[in-house]
Amino acid sequence: AQRVTQPEKLLSVFKGAPVELKCNYSYSGSPELFWYVQYSRQRLQLLLRHISRESIKGFTADLNKGETSFHLKKPFAQEEDSAMYYCAFNYGNNRLAFGKGNQVVVIP
């Protein structure tokens, strides 16, 4: 069952423009959501989690239970933000369900 949906596969933005990656989830309880990032030739790593409510590398994500969304946003994209981004959802016992990913390309 698809628990996490990331609608866009590829997102191209110009440097300095805002970037928003959409993530919707399917869960009736209190979800635990994450954004993971994979830069070119690097391993997948945690970017941020909703419970910490912090900004990492200028990125923020707010959990909206009414819309079942956890969109990732950054007001001004930088070239180093070019990467693959995955939304992930804890569906119990520390298992994570990942979305299909968004490839972000920041154009200089």
Partner: protein, 112 residues
Amino acid sequence: DVKVTQSSRYLVKRTGEKVFLECVQDMDHENMFWYRQDPGLGLRLIYFSYDVKMKEKGDIPEGYSVSREKKERFSLILESASTNQTSMYLCASSYPQVNEQFFGPGTRLTVL
């Protein structure tokens, strides 16, 4: 720093071969996971383990098995490799009550 290592970065095998992918973590994590990563499909969980000798099926266990004889090591086994198992395989580990998973660099397996 948590270190998760995988035995090979690239592997080429023939159809029908038995394939072993090894993963080792050095942070005494109880939980370990195997995923495959395919373009357009994201990461899909194959198997996971909460402790030594314990294993649980993930979303796509068919054609795979695992072994966890020691806490730090989690092996993924393809009993008889097939071309549709050509993929990037990622290992991850975590503490039981913390949901941040730490990933290895991946093994790109090609089955000819």
